[in-house]
Amino acid sequence: MTDASTSTWTEADRLKALRATGILDTDREPAFDDIVELAASLCETPVAVVNLIDAERQWFKAEVGLGVRETPLETSFCRHALLEADRLVVPDAREDARFACNPLVTAEGGFRFYAGVLLKSDDGAPLGTLCVLDVVPRPEGLTPVQLRALEVMANQVMTLLDLRRGLARERAGNARFDALADSMPQMVWSTRPDGFHDYFNARWHEFTGTTPGSTDGAAWSDLFHPEDRERAWDVWRESLATGEPYEIEYRLRRHDGLYRWTLGRATAIRDDEGEIVRWFGTCTDIDDLKQIERGKELVSQELSHRIKNIFAVVSALVALSARQHPEAKAFSQSLRTRINALARAHEFVRPHTEVSAPSVGAMTLHAFLEAMFRPYTGVQGTPRVLLSGDDAVFDDQAATSVALLFHEMATNAAKYGALSEPDGWVTLETRKADDRFILVWREHGGPPVTGAPTRAGFGTTLSTLSVEGQLGGRLERLWLAEGLVVKADLPATALSRRRAALKTA
């Protein structure tokens, strides 16, 4: 409590605090009327007042025995009380220099006795008094019990004023929230901790064409698409049980009966103990976004289809052209298998949508190699090229080279190497070693190797070109007696150069 003598408030602060109560010029209220009645009867005075000192007047929130709501400040007793510590008692005003000339005292039947207790704001600024007055002097003043009662009642007046202010603030807060919520393009809702919906903003009713109150409780659920209701309930129930944020996409029925894709989100508000006190949620119409997404997916799918189709057409064209030239049959076949290997590789790297994603495995190097070596599966369905080691992702730039390299390795092995024998097999080990990626192809159980072939075929040239030209690596061939070993040593970034470039950028 600030003592008036060492007050830290100025008149401006005081008036600001008084205005902030919002009490001035309000109607009479029973709570205040009761207090002045009780004060008058306890102090045995004809007059009791809840008096608030404004800039140029004193205004009475409640009074008995006066019959007016305000008087000018010049004649105020209470104005003097504001300068006192906590209370002012004037036993006989005619004998007090401060009041002896006051018209209220000198008048016929004027006041003689005054006792007032300050009404102080939290900051200690005096806003007015609770006071009692009498037309007869009272030399003994108030009894200690009367004075104490007056103090208690003054505190009650302040409590009432604070509550009023709190309520006013909350009302303003609600109005602000309503204004904000109603001006948002989103639908906003709120529920009790148990999930009972008791608030929807104007946009919700505008969008759904419902009337306020008609979707409270659990009735909102009827506006969801029948196929989405159960899923939405599951997610919502899960959030209610765990307190985790709620997020889901569903179709919401618009006023015109159309279902629109909507993003629903909600978060719980908790009290100091961590208990959920409310849920606040929004619904956002994302139907247009979904349409664009769908459109993009269609274009991407269409493009993917066409790319794959072009490989098929080119492959058919090569075969058809060769039909006129029987001597070109072998040539056309080897060209077609190379084209097919490229097509297969692109299946694994082109941008995929959910629908166009490859039907087998993940889009990694191992998955691709597995698919590529599938034609070399043994009679019992067991693979004959065994993959091991570190897997990796690869992009479309690397796909062509990787596909051509291993296509050549496999077709060569099938013609001359391990895969030309029913019991032969190949191991392919892929290994990441620091900034290198190493692939070792090792043939087993093939016909004995007598040394490097005297003439390198186009396939060999193609392999070397792929590794050393395109991928920037080294290709090493070891013609061991037990079988060919080929080692491709690549920079680790070679398989996905764009990704590596993005990282360094």
Partner: protein, 135 residues
């Protein structure tokens, strides 16, 4: 009597090459259809044992429904051949499986043999590696 095969494919070059490949293998090619209505007309006019069905035809992605109808309602053995096998990843009732395109003559031969063996109810040891068989 050799099996009667219908080719349903909207890329003329691909259809033509497939036809030659099948003829080389000794099969009869009943006809070429680039869209679903033509395919249905052809199966009404002639007996068909096996249909090789592309998914994207000149009247849109009608191959899936067409394959289902041919397999389930017309008693024709159906093998999809498409550049986009992901479209029938979950299988199509009444169809044997899908062969990804582009493919080679050997894969076509083994897939067609496999499908015809299944049609005749002959035991099949294992499916050709490139053919994705529906359950």
């Amino acid at each position: 009597m050799s099996a009667r095969i219908l080719i349903i494919e909207d890329e003329a070059l691909v259809a033509m090459e497939l036809k030659f490949a099948l003829l080389d293998l000794g099969y009869q090619v009943v006809g070429l259809a680039a869209d679903a209505p033509t395919a249905l007309d052809l199966v009404r006019e002639s007996e068909v044992d096996l249909a090789l069905v592309d998914i994207h035809l000149s009247d849109g992605p009608t191959g899936i429904e067409l394959g289902r109808e041919l397999g389930q309602e017309r008693g024709i053995t159906v093998l999809f051949m498409t550049a986009n096998p992901g479209m029938v990843r979950d299988g199509v009732a009444g169809a044997v499986g899908v062969l990804p395109k582009p493919t080679d003559d050997y894969a076509i031969q083994s897939a067609v043999e496999y499908a015809l063996q299944r049609r005749k109810g002959e035991p099949t040891l294992y499916a050709p590696p490139e053919l994705q068989v529906f359950n």
